[in-house]
């Protein structure tokens, strides 16, 4: 948790320069009245003034914030607690208003989840996905952002063409990927005799790597934009002095660019991991329901299958909790790796 907020803060003050760091922000907004108050009111009676305003100078702010706060509490905070509650009880779907017994069952749902081979397989799949997707995403987006940062012509065209997949519905682009990667699709006819058999999406060894490749392609534009923002913060003089010292472009890239965008790398790694853990549309459509034989199923796909299709919301909720804990653990390890390595250099 602390890791996410830390990276979040670094992202924000990197990306939105004017307002300054998060912690200072609320107070900096009202510097003026805070500075004026002691001068004017100390001789008077400040206590009484404050007693009249127990809710602050503009209590109407509470009313302005109310819809958002109600939204967060009702649609996010309450369900969050409810998810954990469901995962420890035997839970049935009922028609509205029907009361049924929902006994506490302890960790039974968790045992059911963790001992299910399909679940174990889906976590293994996600691991395969992350091993391919995360390094590819970080590497390619950094290289392309770096190249984009160096050119002056056609910059807009390249930038737009990179984020077009990101802003397009997954369902739409999956249609064309199915077409490209089918048995006698364009990719296979280009590869000729090198085409895999069985084909990409129905091959139990290649299904998950193809999904990982697809997601990398789909999300890359977003990460390129994140890196592009981070690259603006590296002072040009560093490159100039390095080239005076005779460092070639690889030396510059490894010793200036890579450490310079470290906080962005932490964020990119984290976001790519979260995207991977959220995989649903791809296994559902691209590989026709996590096929072949569960070789590309994902935990969220199993949550849908077990919770909603098979009517076991309790087991699905437990799976969700396990998944979130797993993501947090992986994120923590990644933060060590990505953050630490560059720190030593």
């Amino acid at each position: 948790m602390s890791l996410r907020s830390a990276s979040g803060a670094s992202r924000r003050d990197g990306a939105v320069p004017p307002p300054g760091p998060e912690s200072g922000a609320p107070s900096s907004g009202n510097k003026q009245p805070a500075g004026r108050k002691p001068q004017r009111r100390r001789p008077g009676r400040p206590e009484i003034k404050q007693k009249f305003r127990p809710l602050g100078k503009q209590p109407l702010g509470l009313l302005f914030s109310a819809p958002y706060v109600i939204f967060i509490l009702g649609v996010l905070a309450y369900p969050l607690g409810y998810a954990v509650w469901i995962s420890f009880h035997r839970f049935y779907f009922t028609a509205p208003g029907v009361q049924v017994e929902r006994p506490f069952v302890g960790i039974e749902n968790y045992i059911t989840v963790l001992s299910d081979p399909a679940v174990q397989r889906s976590f293994l799949n996600i691991l395969v996905f992350l091993v391919i997707n995360v390094p590819l995403t970080v590497g390619l987006s950094l290289i392309l952002a770096n190249a984009l940062n160096r050119i002056t012509r056609l910059k807009t065209f390249f930038r737009v063409s990179y984020y077009v997949p990101y802003v397009t519905a997954s369902v739409a682009v999956i249609g064309v990927w199915l077409f490209l990667f089918q048995q006698n699709g364009l990719i296979n006819s280009l590869l000729g005799p090198l085409a895999p058999n069985p084909s990409w999406l129905v091959n139990s060894w290649l299904a998950m790597p193809t999904v990982a490749l697809y997601v990398t392609w789909k999300q890359l534009g977003f990460f390129i934009l994140l890196y592009l923002a981070a690259l603006q913060n590296i002072p040009e003089e560093l490159y100039e002095s390095a080239s005076v010292d005779g460092g070639n472009k690889w030396v510059q890239f490894w010793n200036i660019t890579v450490p310079g965008v470290r906080s962005a790398s932490v964020l990119v790694t984290l976001l790519a991991t979260i995207t991977g853990a959220n995989l649903f549309t791809e296994p559902y459509l691209l590989t026709g329901g996590g096929g072949p034989d569960g070789a590309s199923s994902s935990p969220v796909f199993l949550m849908y299958q077990k919770g909603i299709l098979q009517g076991n919301p309790d087991v699905a909720a437990a799976l969700g909790v396990v998944l979130v804990i797993g993501v947090l653990l992986i994120a923590l390890i990644q933060n060590r790796l990505v953050g630490g390595k560059s720190g030593e250099e």
Binding site: R4, R11, R12, V16, P19, E22, P26, G29, N30, Q32, L55, G56, K57, Q58, G61, L62, S65, Y68, V69, F71, P79, L80, Y82, A83, I86, L144, A147, L148, R150, I151, L154, Y162, V164, V167, A169, S170, V171, A172, V173, G175, V176, L178, F179, N184, L186, S189, F222, L225, L226, L228, A229, Q232, S243, K249, I274, A277, Y304, I308, P313, L323
Partner: protein, 288 residues
């Protein structure tokens, strides 16, 4: 000596930018080709998957696929549903987001820090954990399955947009608002007549950021809408891909035609407003 050094450095830079340019062009091809292929494929009478099929061939071009997909899933109805879903989310985000963004940036009230902390924390709640309880609440308890409200509710106020609004309002001098308050303007009037006209770019950015979510969302509307008449286009196209396509005469043509219709609004919108969708704005957005 310095001249030769400078020449060498310029030469080096030029080489570098030629290399970069080549790399970027290759990247652009990889990113754009599937879109081109989507369009070509949607216009083919029979799918041509050979290398030559990637080029348009006058004899093999037809609008038939669009008619076919429209016969299976009502494209107009799907677009309308996507529009209502997305429009509802954008409306709620802009109205309530401007209110809370302004309050967080320019008003002093008890609990402001708590609201701000909430806004940051919320962006870290993973949606997959909320999937089951939200389904139980919205579909089973409140009976909002097959209902636009049920679709919109979990996405109603985009916290990233709230953050963007707050950042823009923070950049305005607080003296401006104090002056208006001394003149006796109500907070609502200050917001409407002073603050909002100054943050128009923020509204465009927030609408773009918010648009991507619901327009492309598949999982949630897929869970809550069983009635085809209410399904957003992404859901009905997905159902077509997984259930009906196998029975069609040219399944890929029909799928790609539907894909073009679904992709076009987002692509056109983002090309048109690409200036607003630059790194500095996007940097403050987190999808996750």
């Amino acid at each position: 000596m310095s001249i030769t050094a400078k020449k060498a450095s310029v030469e080096k830079r030029r080489n570098l930018s030629v290399g970069s340019f080549f790399l970027l062009a290759l990247g652009a091809f990889v990113f754009l080709f599937p879109f081109y292929y989507m369009l070509i494929g949607s216009l083919q009478t029979s799918p041509d998957t050979s290398v030559g099929g990637a080029f348009p061939e006058p004899g093999n071009i037809t609008g038939e696929n669009y008619v076919n997909i429209n016969g299976s899933i009502n494209l107009f109805k799907g677009l309308l549903n996507s529009g209502i879903f997305t429009g509802g989310v954008i409306l709620a985000t802009v109205v309530f987001g401007l209110l809370v963004g302004y309050a967080l940036a320019q008003m002093q009230f008890r609990g402001r820090g708590v609201v701000f902390g909430m806004m940051l924390l919320v962006q870290m709640i993973p949606f997959q954990l909320l999937l089951i309880p939200l389904y139980v609440m919205i579909v089973r308890d409140y009976g909002l399955g097959d209902n636009y409200l049920g679709m919109i509710l979990p996405f109603a106020i985009n916290s990233t947009a709230v953050f963007v609004f707050r950042q823009y309002f923070m950049q305005l001098p607080s003296t401006l608002f104090e002056a208006a308050r001394i003149d006796g303007a109500s907070e609502l009037r200050i917001l409407w007549q002073v603050a909002i006209p100054l943050v128009r770019p923020a509204i465009v950015t927030a609408i773009l950021l918010t648009f991507i979510g619901p327009w492309n969302e598949f999982l949630w509307p897929f869970l809550v809408t069983k009635d085809q008449a209410l399904q957003p286009l992404a859901v009905s196209l997905a159902n077509y891909i997984s259930n009906i396509a196998a029975t069609a005469s040219n399944p890929f043509g029909a799928i790609l035609a539907g894909a073009c219709v679904l992709a076009a609004p987002a692509v056109v919108l983002f090309i048109f407003f690409q200036r607003q969708f630059i790194s500095t704005n996007l940097g403050s957005s987190v999808k996750g």
